[in-house]
Symmetry: C2
DNA sequence: TTTACTGCAAATAATTTGCAAAACT
DNA sequence: AGTTTTGCAAATTATTTGCAGTAAA
C-alpha cells in the first residue's frame, strides 16, 4: 500500500468522502520529493487531467494539514508550502537564490532539541524546520 | 551611539538620504526586541507621530534588508517579519500557539553549520533561523 | 437520497508599483 | 537646484469564502 493509499484509507475511516480531486491532490503531495505550493500542484495536475480548481486545492491542502497528514510552512517569499509527514526528523535547507528546498538528515538534532528544552523550556517541533542559506549550485555563480 | 544611529550613519555614508520617516522606521526596528511586521511598525509609529504611509514602511524595510541591516523572514501565517542584525548567531523559537518569538543562543550552531557544509555543500545563514514549537507558558495550558 | 464537496466568481489580505508632489543634501 | 523619497491610489499576488450545482456514500 503506497503512502497516498494509507492516507486515503485513514481519511475514509474518519468519515470523509474521497473525490477524484482529493485523490489526485493527495497523490501529488505524497509523491512530491519536496515541499510544494498549491500553485505547483495545479500546474502538475493540469498535465495529467482536466484542471482542478485552485480553490479546491487550497481547501484540500488545508484539510490534510488539519487532519495531520501534511505540514504547512511559509518558507519562501509569500507562498505557503505543504508536504506529507512521511519522513523522520529532518531539516529543510532553503536556498535564498534558487528557492529550492533540500531535505537534510542531521544527527545534531536530538542534542539541539534537548538543549532547547533544558535552557528555554521550549518544546521544539524538529520534524520540520528550516534553515536559509545558499545551496552548492548557487555558490558557484 | 545607539544601534539605530550606527545604521543611519552608515546609510548616510553610502549616499542615501535620511528622512524623518526612515529615521523613525529604523528606530522602531532597531529597538524592537522581536521580529516585527510592516503593519506592527505602522501601528507603533501612529502612537507617536502622524501616520507614515504603509508603502513607505514596506519600501524602507526592503531597503534595509537589501543594504544588509535587516533580516527578513516569513515566520507566521502570510506575513513577512523583519529584524535588525544586532546579535550574533541565534535561533528564533517561534511558538505555534501564542506566536511569540524567543531569541535563543545555542552552542551547537557551529557544529550544525559545519555538518551542513560538509554533507550538503550548503552554506547556511545561521545568524537567523527559526524553529517552531510550543513555548513554556503555552505548554501549561 | 442526503449532505459533503466542487467550481466559479467575487472578497480579502499582504505587498508592490506608477506617478506627481515634497523634501533631503 | 537637482535628484531622491514620499504619499496616494490603483495593481498584483496569494489565499479564502459564499453559494448554487454536483456527486460520493
Amino acid at each position: 500500500m503506497s503512502h497516498s493509499d494509507t492516507i486515503i484509507a485513514e481519511l475514509r475511516k474518519r468519515g470523509y468522502r474521497i473525490t477524484p480531486q482529493r485523490e489526485m491532490i493527495i497523490g501529488a503531495i505524497a509523491h512530491s520529493p519536496k515541499h510544494i505550493t498549491a500553485e505547483e500542484i495545479a500546474v502538475h495536475l493540469q498535465e495529467h487531467t482536466h484542471a482542478i480548481n485552485i480553490a479546491t486545492i487550497y481547501r484540500t491542502l488545508d484539510w490534510l494539514w488539519q487532519e495531520g497528514f501534511a505540514c504547512r510552512n511559509d518558507l519562501s517569499e509569500g507562498k505557503t508550502v505543504y508536504a506529507t509527514l512521511l519522513h523522520g526528523p529532518h531539516v529543510h535547507l532553503v536556498c535564498r537564490k534558487c528557492n529550492q528546498v533540500i531535505d537534510a538528515d542531521i544527527g545534531v538534532l536530538s542534542t539541539l532539541g534537548n538543549k532547547l528544552r533544558e535552557k528555554y523550556g521550549f518544546d521544539p517541533n524538529l520534524d520540520h524546520f528550516s534553515i536559509f542559506g545558499v545551496c552548492s549550485e548557487c555558490q558557484d555563480q
